[in-house]
Symmetry: C2
Subunit: 197 residues, 2 copies
């Protein structure tokens, strides 16, 4: 196999979700449509690299910084939804469920993998909340141990500011069947039960 | 989400083995290491596109055509191993199990998906075998219905040339445990049993 090909396969096999075998398959697919697909990929990656910026306020990606969400004055600029990753931000935006601003942490705290608060975008959040008189901070970290630990840590950091801090509710996923849910979800759903008005 | 980003995600989500979700994850990973990874990927894809050629003899990919396997005069140039895809060729080369030449079909015949003989690199194979006085053609297609159908079709096409045509043996994979094998493999292994010398 030629060096150029090996380089390409190595590069792709390091992307998350792709191992050596699926990288090989992807590259062979590219080679099959070599003259259309390969220049297109090279051009699109290059264009994305040139145009895409990280928002200095919230950590989102966009073609400008501050990003269009941070600049949108139709959105509620007094509430901030804190997410672990840009993918989480996209998921919420896709659902059109939240009309405030975001803050991307860039991951979670982790005792096992020794990721402390300084590896996350937390200082900026505390400053943002303090300086902009934010009314509510919604902690939308994942419902995992690390996600919950991170949410708890952030709520402690925000405590002195007296801002309202909330987290997403735990419960049954809509359309979910009890028979297929884990005990943790069932017990959380039961504990947070609501009166039928 | 910006257009540049959507284009990139769309492009990647069409590679085999990547869906929309894993394409998003891969792109977010790229964005995380934006200034090192993205120019590198653009450059490597472009370099591969510029340098890699399809071998006009066997269908392999290399930086030259004919490829280095076809040009290697230390290899047995009287036997040709016929494979479905370049990935299969790589698998055999990686195992150092075959020292002849190859012929890449580019897929299989398929009744269901209506792929006939003219979608495959078969005419070139017949011509190669006829013109070069090939001694043996080894049909190394997959042990699937389509792979076997293709092997059978090729053996019929080569029949008039009186060349020896063989196929890979079916049987137990080395290290395989009987308990975990399907009936087809067990019955093939039994039918091809050998005397212990």
């Amino acid at each position: 196999m030629s060096n150029e090909l090996e380089d390409l396969i190595n590069l792709f096999s390091k992307l998350p979700g792709l191992g050596p075998r699926s990288a090989r398959r992807a590259i062979l697919h590219m080679l099959k449509y070599k003259d259309t697909l390969m220049p297109n990929i090279a051009r699109t990656v290059e264009a994305a690299h040139r145009t895409i910026k990280l928002c200095t306020i919230c950590g989102n990606v966009d073609i400008r910084s501050p990003c269009s969400i941070c600049l949108d004055d139709k959105r509620d600029n007094l509430s901030i939804c804190v997410v672990e990753t840009i993918a989480d931000l996209w998921a919420l935006e896709k659902g059109h469920v939240f009309k405030g601003h975001y803050h991307v942490l860039g991951g979670t705290l982790s005792a096992v993998e020794q990721r402390g608060p300084d590896t996350l975008n937390i200082e900026n959040l505390v400053r943002r909340v303090a300086e902009n008189n934010i009314r509510e901070v919604i902690l939308a970290t994942n419902a995992t141990i690390d996600g919950q630990t991170t949410a708890f840590y952030i709520s402690e950091r925000l405590e002195p500011l007296k801002t309202k801090v909330t987290r997403l509710a735990y419960g049954l996923p809509v359309g979910g069947e009890l028979d297929y849910l884990d005990e943790g979800t069932l017990s959380a759903a039961l504990a947070s039960r609501k009166a039928l008005a």
